[in-house]
Symmetry: C2
Subunit: 341 residues, 2 copies
């Protein structure tokens, strides 16, 4: 293991002081541009690489952004992460990613690690069973920018980035009603989480606007897994007065559910019209293609990081931009089209 080259080595070699070398390498204005040239080229020649830790230690910054998500292997989340990585990378930041696996306990542990790693900022989409955000208090108290996205928690010091889930739920439901559905089942996730609670709210508003009675038994709170899709199909078919419309807040779950319904001999959309959520690739593969809400995952990731970096650079304070709302979009495909064109 050969010895690392430091600014001292460069300084000695060029008869400059380490201070000058440091300044030159950081493009400090008070250094003549020709000496800058000499120094940088010598640095390159000697195979110098700056030591991030020494620098971080000194500057009390890390150029690192932490990300905590429930799980990283869903289509939505991997797109969001891809967007984050791209923007962060271009801005010279590193990303440290960890997953809570839907457990508040693990989320807490991850938060501690992030805190100890002194990330400059933290992006969080909370787990299923997160109750409070005490475990993020350290960040807030220390003034480390904390930003929630997708699954957010209200906090007046933390901006959040979301889509308008109420509107999306409203649109999905209204679309089904416009297609002539009269009885809508709604399969969703943990109602503690804003995303699911809001979509339900939209569902209820759409019903109300058309004077349709809201039946609690038609709403299924699940974990949105594929198994949940199977179970949802079972329940749907068990109703004496069978629902003729189905709104599932996750495409993969919706698609599995559709599979079960078809297997049982029901026809889609004639017997049951279906709308999913996320615009996952599976939605364009299943037959009939699944009507769904396009969720701008990549864009959300990009904006989350951009916004965080702006905070870090002081271009924006935490108060001004408390909530950013991205546009989602209903994408109509065959699975919900009862009326032919």
């Amino acid at each position: 293991m050969e010895k690392e080259v430091t600014i001292y080595d460069i300084a000695k070699r060029l008869n400059y002081s380490p201070a000058t070398v440091s300044r030159a390498l950081n493009d400090h204005p008070a250094i003549r541009s020709d000496t800058k040239d000499v120094i940088t080229s010598m640095a390159r020649q000697m195979g110098y690489r700056s030591n991030t830790f020494a620098s971080n230690l000194r500057r009390q910054r890390t150029n690192t952004i932490g990300v905590i998500v429930p799980r990283l292997n869903s289509n939505f989340m991997s797109c969001a992460l891809a967007g984050m990585e791209k923007v962060a990378n271009e801005a010279g930041y590193n990303l440290i990613i960890s997953q809570s696996l839907e457990s508040a306990r693990k989320e807490k542990a991850n938060a501690k690690t992030m805190f100890d790693s002194r990330v400059d900022g933290l992006l969080v989409s909370v787990s299923y069973d997160t109750e409070d955000i005490e475990h993020f208090d350290d960040f807030i108290n220390k003034g480390v920018p904390l930003l929630f996205f997708d699954r957010v928690i209200e906090h007046n010091q933390c901006p959040s980035i979301v889509i308008d889930n109420v509107k999306a739920g409203y649109e999905a439901t209204t679309h089904l009603l416009e297609q002539g559905c009269t009885r809508l089942m709604h399969v969703t996730g943990n109602l503690k989480r804003n995303v699911y609670a809001d979509r339900l709210k939209g569902y209820r508003m759409a019903l109300q606007d058309r004077d349709i009675h809201y039946e609690k038994q038609l709403v299924l709170e699940t974990d949105l897994s594929q198994e949940a899709g199977v179970e949802a199909a079972r329940q749907l078919m068990a109703f004496p007065h069978r629902p003729d419309g189905l709104f599932v807040t996750n495409d993969l779950c919706a698609v599995t559910c559709m599979g079960q319904l078809k297997k049982a001999g029901l026809s889609i959309p004639a017997d049951v019209a279906v709308v999913g959520f996320n615009n996952d690739p599976v939605s364009q593969v299943v037959e009939p293609n699944l009507t769904t809400i396009h969720y701008p995952g990549r864009e959300m990731g990009e904006i989350a990081v951009k916004s965080l970096i702006n905070h870090l650079n002081g271009l924006m304070d935490m108060q001004t931009t408390n909530t950013i709302i991205l546009r989602s979009e209903l994408i109509i495909r065959a699975s919900s089209l009862k009326k032919a064109h």
Copy 2:
């Protein structure tokens, strides 16, 4: 911004030396367990958090593993990353993830960043157009463990983790032949990459074992995108003597291709039997369900990190385990079953 608590503050408060505090906090064996207790509880009480940079600077380690992948939003890759994160996290390592977006240029830039961040080890799946691995020489010269997975490049100093792609290709092809197919089209990715070259090799071996003439025109080298699936379907149908079997090395591409074939009135598997690759969720959604090769993504990620950490701990040197081969598995579903049960 309140002042950070350091081990000096704890030491002073407890009348110990900083060294003792440091050792106690790191669970050093040569410290009495009761003084450990006193120190750790005081640390907690004072709101102490260890400073990773100072520690890294001193120990010349980072407890960070770098990962460079072509893109992180595919089902396979996000599962692999999920596995990596889990193992790394449990072992006290952080993950820095970046994507090359299939560009050798970006891969090179990412490698430099990783090097400057002084990652303890690096995991790489190379991009489509990576020609050489000069950009990783720094790591090799410095003795930083470098490990390739999935898309690997032969190098006697770098272990790699793969599945037996030749065998997988052989099995997929043989299965189609056993179903009575006589003319097999093969849609694959960039043949510079081991994964695709090996699968092709398996395809050819299977043909040879049954004395079937290999026709170059039946092999399509594509980017495996969904568009490529559409194009593949077009070409398949354009053959005067139409192929009756299709082996695509990517499920999403295969599924899109199937969609086109069905739209054109062909029946699957009767007219064309299809086998995909990866066992992506879409394979169980498409009709008929897609026969595919299960690729153990999550497991590969876990083993990659485990293996890297073993290297770091000196439990294993780079020579002993040059290649780890994981088991893949043919999963037979309806899309390839010409013979009824």
